[in-house]
């Protein structure tokens, strides 16, 4: 995109140059001052850190722990690679790219911001990988820049041509013909102009507050009598579509981005002004703020936190690559952003618009995975409670409909014999049918207790809305625990039956969110076994503040017992291996960060335990290192669905133990959250879970294997048939359904 620049006189150009030079000098001086200030304010720390660094340089190079942030960027790269692969349908490619953009936004808001905070506070303690904040930051900055370059290279060099082959073109303003320009101008006048508010920046009008991740246009206006150059900002309204379709021409569909239409129409916003240049930009703000959990009213504190978060310090500035120096300098100076945090992008900012763009044409997506309903384990049953009474039931989403979980709550709500319903809610969908069912239950006189975790990051506002609705309906709402996030996924129905009170429990690996349940893989278990019921009741009593944490019979809960449980179980495998017994561990989680757990896995590997880890995202463990992790294999599965289930398998000397759970192996899960891991005891269900793990490990389409140099590689199938675990699971449940239907006939 070319910026519009008026011609300048030589003097004006020199002025601009001088200003630029001055600005650059100031920036450099500022940087030096910042560093020297940092040094002065913590000279000891830096010197000590430097000395330690020199000393540990050799050790660091061979540290068996990978840095968390760098690992996350690798994960995002795998998502991008999934979009880049041959065989990925076009619209899915767009979606993958959009996902990487959205992921990166969150990364900057939280993780990157956290690293910057450490730098600002001179906190240089190295992490498990040996990197301190000042060493990590430049690595991160480079890696993110390289990543974003790849994103845009993919967009420009691959996606745009592919779209064009499908007669879908996104045009820049220069590429529009006369009629298209007229259309754009007309659209600007009728639709955009009424909602735009240009905001000038000068001595009397300070730089406006820009919302986090909002798309804006910086405008440089020609000098007037009082000022050399003037600047203004126009926000691209998020309420309007990001892309606009032009009238069709000969079968080709033309699209223009909203910011480009605005730039074309700027003269109408700045009447009588000369526009020197204009360029889109976007800032990302620090959202990693603290909540005072000791407050008496947590909801008020969360609401205040949400307000504060909106005003977090900027941590990234994205600019179009065509942005001129004057605008760039203006923005970096006014926003106080370090040069390292400025990202020039050769394409449209905020790629998340591609989610919607992917829907403009049908037939270029993955064949949808349609869940079977009811799930296999419930097939042929009419009464959900009777089915669970007969035996435990297992479900695998999204291959099997999440509707069974909603049905569980809805049926409980309407059942006259149900006395009480209790549930934890971490992230729910908008217009959640589960929340509606809970409200209905309360209206029908059931005792409904809901534990709403207000501190679910970026879902706080959503959860506050639901919490208030539930309370209004008469539910007893508890807003989580001070210092702990309630992350476990559990629902309990207390029912009065002929032979007494019985408790029906649903335990899951995923949130009670019917939207994400369509694209996340998760598992759930339904049971009414008494020991689990007692544990579940005890857990809810603890979470509602009625009681001390109980001793659990079957459930394993964090933060009290989970770490110890996993440690003891792994040590048991180590002992078995040393005793010459079968010893194997398979763990499927979303992130592996906890250094103590990693150390234990290394010990297990050294003892001869075979370890397979299916880690979708961050993995700070490095496999296949000589004498450290030779027996450990790590795969990451990224495909049509988002892997989300957590499964734990321990060989136990030939009598395997299988667990499902809500927890990953990160310090926050093991020590700072309420999590649950639960056993799958019934043999047939255990076998099913083991089969699931085997299929995941056999995946040679979506899976990438982590190497000892921390890179990931797709499998070389070498003529072997492709195994796409997502499609395979879908096929298996359909086959299972056919078999049941056939048997019935």
């Amino acid at each position: 995109m070319k910026s519009t620049k008026g011609s300048k006189t030589g003097k004006e150009k020199d002025t601009v140059k001088e200003k630029t030079k001055t600005a650059e000098k100031t920036k450099t001086a500022d940087k030096k001052t910042a560093k020297s200030t940092a040094k002065k304010s913590a000279p000891k720390a830096t010197t000590e850190a430097a000395t330690k660094r020199e000393k540990n340089e050799g050790e660091k190079k061979s540290s068996p722990y990978y840095n968390r942030e760098l690992s996350w960027l690798d994960f995002n790269m795998r998502v991008l690679e999934a979009g880049m692969r041959d065989g990925t349908p076009l619209m899915e490619r767009l979606r993958f790219l959009a996902i990487t953009g959205s992921n990166l936004d969150e990364f900057f808001m939280v993780r990157f911001a956290g690293v910057l905070d450490n730098l600002r506070e001179n906190f240089f303690k190295p992490d498990a990988s040996g990197l301190s904040a000042d060493e990590l930051f430049p690595l991160l900055a480079k890696k993110t820049k390289d990543f974003m370059a790849r994103q845009y290279s993919f967009y420009n060099d691959k996606l745009l041509p592919m779209l064009q082959k499908e007669n879908l073109t996104i045009k820049s303003p220069e590429e529009l013909d006369g009629s298209q320009r007229s259309f754009a101008a007309d659209y600007f006048k009728k639709v955009m102009f009424p909602v735009l508010t240009p905001l000038a920046v000068d001595r009397s009008r300070p730089f406006p507050f820009l919302a986090n991740r909002s798309l804006n246009i910086a405008v440089c206006l020609a000098a007037d009598k009082e000022e050399d150059e003037r600047f203004a900002v126009v926000q691209v309204p998020s309420i309007l579509p990001r892309f606009v379709e032009m009238p069709q021409k000969g079968g080709e569909r033309i699209f223009v981005l909203a910011e480009d239409i605005i730039i074309l129409g700027l003269s109408q916003l700045f009447v009588g002004q000369e526009i020197i240049s204009a360029a889109p930009f976007r800032i990302t703000r620090d959202s990693d703020l603290d909540i005072d959990e000791g407050t008496e009213n947590l909801m008020v504190e969360i609401e205040e936190y949400i307000r504060r978060r909106k005003r977090g310090r900027p941590v990234r500035l994205e600019l179009s690559a065509k942005c001129d120096a004057a605008l760039r300098d203006f923005l970096t100076e006014i926003l106080g952003i370090d040069e390292l945090n400025v990202y020039e992008l050769d394409g449209p900012l905020d790629l998340t618009f591609l989610f919607k763009f992917a829907a403009v044409k049908n037939g270029l997506s993955f064949e949808p995975i349609v869940p079977i309903d009811p799930p296999l384990d419930f097939w042929g049953t009419e009464d959900i409670f009777a089915a669970i009474r007969e035996r435990d039931r297992l479900v695998h989403h999204p291959y099997e409909s999440f509707g069974i979980v909603m049905n569980f709550i809805k049926t409980a709500a309407e059942d006259e014999n149900v006395l009480a319903i209790k549930q934890t809610l971490y992230r729910v969908s908008g217009n959640s049918p589960i929340v509606a069912a809970l409200i209905r239950a309360a209206e029908l006189g059931k005792q409904v207790t809901v534990l709403v975790e207000l501190k679910a990051r970026f879902d706080e506002e959503n959860n506050i809305v639901w919490a208030k609705k539930l309370e209004k309906a008469g539910c007893h709402v508890v807003y989580g625990l001070s210092g702990l996030k309630i992350h476990c996924k559990i629902a309990m129905v207390v029912r009065r039956e002929e032979d007494g009170i019985r408790r029906y429990i649903h335990l899951g690996t995923g949130n009670y969110n019917d939207s994400t349940a369509r694209i996340y893989t998760d598992m759930g278990l339904f049971t009414c076994r008494e020991p689990v019921g007692i544990d579940a009741a005890g857990l809810f009593n603890m979470l509602t503040g009625y009681s001390n944490p109980p001793e659990f019979n079957r459930l394993v809960a964090a933060p009290r017992d989970m770490r110890r449980f996993f440690e003891e179980t792994i040590k048991s495998e180590i002992n078995n291996a040393r005793a010459g017994l079968k010893a194997k561990i398979i763990v499927k989680i979303n992130s592996l960060v906890d250094s103590d757990m990693i150390k234990l896995l290394y010990d297990a590997s050294a003892a001869g335990v075979k370890i397979n880890l299916i880690v979708r995202g961050i993995c700070c463990l490095i496999p296949s290192l000589a004498e450290i992790s030779e027996n450990i294999k790590v795969v990451s599965i990224v495909g049509q669905l988002l892997e989300h289930s957590r499964i734990f398998y321990f060989e136990n000397g030939g009598n395997p133990k299988v667990y499902l759970g809500s927890a990953d192996w990160m310090p926050r899960n093991l020590d700072r959250r309420v999590e649950l891991v639960f056993p799958v005891d019934e043999d047939s269900l255990k076998e099913r879970v083991i089969n699931i793990l085997n299929i995941l490990l056999a995946d040679n389409v979506n899976a990438q294997t982590m190497q000892s140099d921390k890179s990931y590689l797709y499998a070389n199938r070498r003529g072997k048939p492709p195994v796409n675990s997502h499609r395979e699971f879908s096929r298996l449940v359909r086959e299972g359904l056919k078999m049941k239907e056939t048997l019935l006939q």
Binding site: G445, G500, I501, E530, G538
Partner: protein, 524 residues
């Protein structure tokens, strides 16, 4: 809303020294299953034992806990529940205000159990647990319950209790004292032991160590002791070898709480309390010659729950109390040198009169037991003063601890034994006058029947072989069979008949039947 037929469900709230507890249970096929067991930690015991009062902030916390409990009780649709408290509330000077606040804030009526009632419930649960586990303890068994504020001691001979006392020294209380001692000296273990020995000194039976064959301890820190001695549970019972307890005690002895906690990997509070408990265990073990200590799990709430849910349990419990109260009373009678034969005669006579005149007096099993106790112990005053033996018996009976007997029952029995053939309840008697109308009526009824029964053996020679009582058409006919001259008895009976008529409006008539060679019916 239409409801299916349901199993029984009940709830018990127990306000203890270190926690408020809720138990919700249901009965299925005659067995009790717990649905909820909650424990909300509170420092009531600590406050009461150090300050004698429960603070407002603790009352506030307690109310919060109880509100949560009531919420849960509502969730399960429980209609029948009991809320009880024991020593922690019992010993609080502001007990009445606390109970009132709990009623006002949560609508809960909290019963503050008497010591004897609390301990009996627990001992009953212990005996049931031992029964169900098939454990028969021959010889003499010392049952001990280590509560937070009191130490219950009960001695059984075979299956019958013969002695029970409650000492004002429970684990929490003792812990407070030890903590104080620890602040002033490093040799605290010796002083702590001496303190406990002084408390136990009054229990002479504990010096007769050869004749105690079994030691059963329940209560505070039981599970922790079992865990730290690596003892597995079997049918709700831990059987811990004596030497393991000694070894555990030796680890804690003379170590400060912090070091003890670190050694045993428990919290400091738990270590401190454990030391107090083990000192008690050790002191008792010194006095009995046993190789193992039996630790049955027996919660007060379990015992109460059984009575609420199991059909017939209340009746069985009442009978249990009766049997053991009587065996205890009989033992006391021996100590007080009461005439056993006379006592048994009076007992049989009075229960015969009581049972046959139910339609006249309208009293129940509680009062029947009162009469039985009075019969066994009415001569106890003689050991103190032959001249004022009635007054002495009154004082002794109302202050004596008898297994399973409430204070009210003891008091009634004391009133009953206060009167003989020469004196009857009357408002001239200051003690009697201090009673309410209802109480006076009750005392009068019991005394009226008792005096008659006693008169029938006024000579103390058990001349009457059998007794029959008939009540019809406003007459009470008592037929006594005897082969001996009973003029003395007839005279005493006549003296007592006037008061009987005053109380019941019916004059009792004594008919003597000559008993020739054992041909007459009925027995005494």
């Amino acid at each position: 809303m239409a409801q299916k037929k349901t199993a029984d469900i009940a709830a018990v709230i127990h306000i203890g020294g270190n926690a408020a507890r809720l138990r919700i249970s249901q009965v299925k096929k005659g067995k009790i299953f717990d649905l909820e067991k909650l424990e909300y930690p509170l420092m009531i015991g600590h406050e009461v034992f150090s300050n004698k009062k429960i603070s407002f902030s603790t009352i506030h916390e307690l109310n919060k806990a109880l509100a949560g409990f009531m919420q849960l009780i509502g969730e399960y649709g429980v209609e029948e529940y009991r809320a009880v408290a024991a020593s922690a509330l019992r010993d609080a000077q502001n007990r009445i205000l606390v109970v009132d606040q709990l009623k006002v804030q949560n609508g809960i009526d909290v019963e503050v159990l008497e010591n004897s009632v609390e301990k009996t419930l627990i001992y009953y649960k212990i005996s049931r647990t031992l029964d169900e586990a098939g454990i028969l303890l021959p010889g003499r068994t010392l049952y001990t319950f280590v509560g937070s504020g009191t130490l219950g001691l009960a001695l059984a001979e075979g299956q019958n209790m013969v002695y029970a006392q409650n000492l004002p020294m429970g684990a929490l209380k003792y812990n407070e004292i030890i903590t104080d001692i620890k602040r002033n000296t490093e040799e605290f273990s010796q002083i702590a032991e001496e303190y406990l020995q002084a408390v136990l000194k009054s229990q002479n039976f504990l010096n007769d160590s050869e004749h105690i064959h079994n030691l059963v301890i329940s209560g505070s820190s039981l599970e922790l002791v079992a865990r730290l001695t690596d003892t597995a549970e079997e049918n709700g019972i831990y059987r811990v070898p004596r030497k393991k307890i000694v070894a555990l005690y030796d680890k804690l002895k003379d170590a400060n709480s912090y070091a003890a906690a670190a050694k045993l990997n428990i919290s400091e509070n738990a270590a401190s309390l454990l030391y107090a408990v083990l000192t008690i265990y050790t002191e008792l073990m010194r006095r009995v010659d046993v190789t193992e200590v039996i630790l049955p799990r027996a919660a007060l709430t379990e015992s109460i729950m059984e009575q609420m849910l199991i059909s017939g349990a209340k009746k069985t419990y009442r009978e249990y109390i009766r049997q053991n109260a009587l065996s205890c009373a009989r033992k006391m009678a021996v100590v007080y040198e009461c005439n056993e034969a006379h006592g048994e005669f009076v007992l049989n006579a009075v229960v015969t009169i009581f049972d046959k005149l139910k339609k006249l007096h309208g009293l129940g099993a509680n009062e029947r037991l009162v009469l039985e106790l009075a019969a066994i112990l009415h001569e106890c005053g003689n050991v103190v003063s032959a001249r004022n033996h009635l007054a002495a018996a009154f004082d002794m009976l109302r202050r004596s601890e008898i297994y399973g007997v409430t204070f009210k029952q003891r008091l009634l029995a004391a009133y009953v034994v206060k009167y003989d053939e020469f004196s009857a309840p009357n408002v001239g008697d200051a003690d009697y006058a201090a009673l309410t109308d209802k109480e006076r009526t009750l005392v009068s009824k019991l005394a009226a029947m008792f005096r008659l029964a006693k008169a029938l053996d006024v000579s103390g020679r058990q001349k009457i072989n059998s007794l029959a009582v008939q009540y019809k058409e406003n007459s009470v006919l008592i037929t006594a069979s005897t082969a001996e001259g009973v003029f003395f008895e007839e005279w005493a009976f006549k003296d007592c008949a006037a008061f009987f008529k005053l109380v019941f409006g019916v004059a009792p008539i004594l008919r003597i039947k000559r008993d020739i060679q054992g041909l007459s019916g009925g027995t005494v």
